[in-house]
């Protein structure tokens, strides 16, 4: 899994908002997503800019597209987020009990000058 690509995709507030909007209603067309973002973001976001953001998210594996009849719909892919959490974030955020206990002991020892 390409963490760099994933974090770059997530490092933009508009793209994070797009994921939030898809979490609220999955399977949106470009039009719906654009209307939703404009009502949040103001009129400054062009459809071309939105297309680019969609491409970045798709390349990071965070969304997939599906044609329904003749319209393209966008779906949130949650698995890269779960993988990122399992592989890298959780071990940092929630170290196993023993390691945490050892680290706490080390800090106490340090403070006690041992």
């Amino acid at each position: 899994m390409d963490f760099d690509r994933l974090f770059r995709a997530l490092a933009d507030p508009t793209r994070r908002r797009m994921l939030d909007e898809l979490a609220e209603r999955d399977g949106q067309t470009l039009f719906e997503l654009h209307v939703r973002l404009i009502s949040w973001h103001g009129a400054s976001l062009s459809r071309q800019a939105l297309s680019k953001h969609l491409q970045v998210l798709e390349e990071a594996g965070l969304l997939r597209t599906e044609w329904r009849w003749r319209s393209k719909h966008h779906f949130l892919e949650r698995s890269p987020l779960r993988q990122m959490w399992d592989v890298w974030m959780r071990p940092l955020a929630e170290p196993p009990e023993k390691e945490r206990a050892d680290a706490d002991q080390d800090r106490r020892d340090e403070r006690a000058g041992r």
């Binding site: 719906e32 329904r68 393209k72």
Partner: protein, 130 residues
């Protein structure tokens, strides 16, 4: 006398099919049906408003029309928008008649909108103001 909007149009792939959709399913009323060469000057009005703005069902014969329509549909962009009193009720009514929606009713600020396929190559938005 200011300039007024009298006729607006949608580009349809088949006028007869479009008449059935816009009259029999959406509920508009036929206003003019005048033969014009291969085609017809075919307009409808909102129910109960025969003096109101007319919708022209215009043939999409121009070579640029179809690529343009196809690109709009691909991105989910409606060709035009109509007003309704209750988007949820219309969504239920039209769905029961077999109309396909690309967007179910979504509340966005001052409006609730939904988008459906007119079966003539366009997406159409319906909007309810709050």
């Amino acid at each position: 006398m200011p300039i007024k909007i009298v006729v607006t149009s949608v580009l349809v792939d088949d006028q007869e099919k479009a008449l059935r959709f816009y009259r029999d399913i959406l509920g508009f009323e036929l206003k003019h049906d005048i033969p014009m060469g291969h085609h017809r000057w075919l307009t409808l009005t909102s129910p109960g408003d025969s003096d109101g703005v007319e919708l022209l069902l215009e043939p999409d014969e121009h070579p640029a029309a179809k690529p343009w329509k196809t690109a709009l549909v691909a991105d989910g962009i409606p060709a035009t928008s109509f007003g309704v009193e209750d988007v949820h009720a219309e969504h239920a009514r039209l769905s029961a008649l077999g109309v396909a929606f690309t967007q179910p009713p979504v509340h966005l600020g001052p409006v609730t909108t939904a988008v459906f396929d007119d079966s003539c190559g366009n997406l159409i938005q319906i909007a309810q103001r709050h």
